[in-house]
Every structure is written in structure tokens, then in C-alpha cells.
Symmetry: C2
Subunit: 106 residues, 2 copies
Amino acid sequence: MDRRSGEVAVIFASWRTGADEGGYAAAAAAMEALAARQPGYRGIESARGPDGFGITVSYWADEAAATAWRDQPDHAAIRDAGRARWYRRYTVTVARVERDYGWTAA
Amino acid sequence: MDRRSGEVAVIFASWRTGADEGGYAAAAAAMEALAARQPGYRGIESARGPDGFGITVSYWADEAAATAWRDQPDHAAIRDAGRARWYRRYTVTVARVERDYGWTAA
């Protein structure tokens, strides 16, 4: 609801292994904090169900900001750890925001 | 990982009330099945955590297909029920897919 047209949405869908829950939770929190300090950061939302499937969407001011986040060295290192331990599979879809709307209960 | 450039991603983020869990689950399953029968449907992914926050991303061949899904009468009726019973808040962000990639454990 506070997205602007032209922002970049990075949709990260992941299937957890179930291994190392504590390490994963700590790393996930650290990555959200790190993302929030990146230039062009516009927000992040994340949900994961009991089946281990999760979706995290991060929003960026533009393509350059999204790419800089992908290439951020600590982020890249955590990604390697994710492949080794936490994830069975993931997909990343990069999309350009066109519009948004929302509703909140009165 | 099977997204095509130009597809439309509809990112639905929602905060559940916690009420009527059975009715909600049945409606959510019915909506996923209904979406899958719509022209231009390209896939759907959904995750909801124990805190009641969830993200569902549906993918559509183009803007016309995404708009037709928004306006589908049964979908609209369920949306009204969602506002009355199941959701405290939701946001919908429409974005145009630019690229995607993925990784699967060997």
C-alpha cells in the first residue's frame, strides 16, 4: 500500500530443509536488518508456513538498488550458507511495480 | 523459475483475523482452484506464518488476464467475505515480471 510505480519487487520463494532452525532464524533476521540499511530499500515482507515453504518480497527504489542488494557481500555469503544448509530449493523473480492498493478494517 | 518476462505478478499480502479458520481454509483452496481455471493463469504460490501474516503471489500471462481475475464474480464475492470475516488488512501489488532464476539442491 505504500509502493510506488517503478519500484522493483524481488520475490524470493524458498523451500526449507528444516535443518538448523535457530541458525536460519538468526540469519533471516540479520538479512532483513541488513537489507533495511541498503540504499534504495523500500520495505520487506515475509511469510513462511509450517510446511517450510516461504515467500519474502523485498522492494527497492530501482533496478540498481535491487542489483546492489543481490551483490552485497554479506548477503552473498549468507546465500551460500542457505544453499549448503537451509534451502532445498528457491526461486527469485524480479518484477517492476505498476500499481498497488489495499484495505484495512475500520 | 518458470516465469516469463512480461508476465504479471499479483502480490497479495494479508493479515488474518484468526476467525473462522475452517471457512477460510476452504475458501482459500477454492480460490486457488478457481484461479487455475482462468484464462492466462500462470501459477500461484502461497505462504502464511503462525502470526497470521501471509503472502500469495499469482502469475498471469498479461495485464488483461490479471484484471479479469480481479473482476471474476466468484472471486469478488469471496473478497467481500474476506473483508467481513477473515482479514484485518490486505495489500495488493501488481508488478510486471522482468526476469527470474532459481536453484535446486542436487
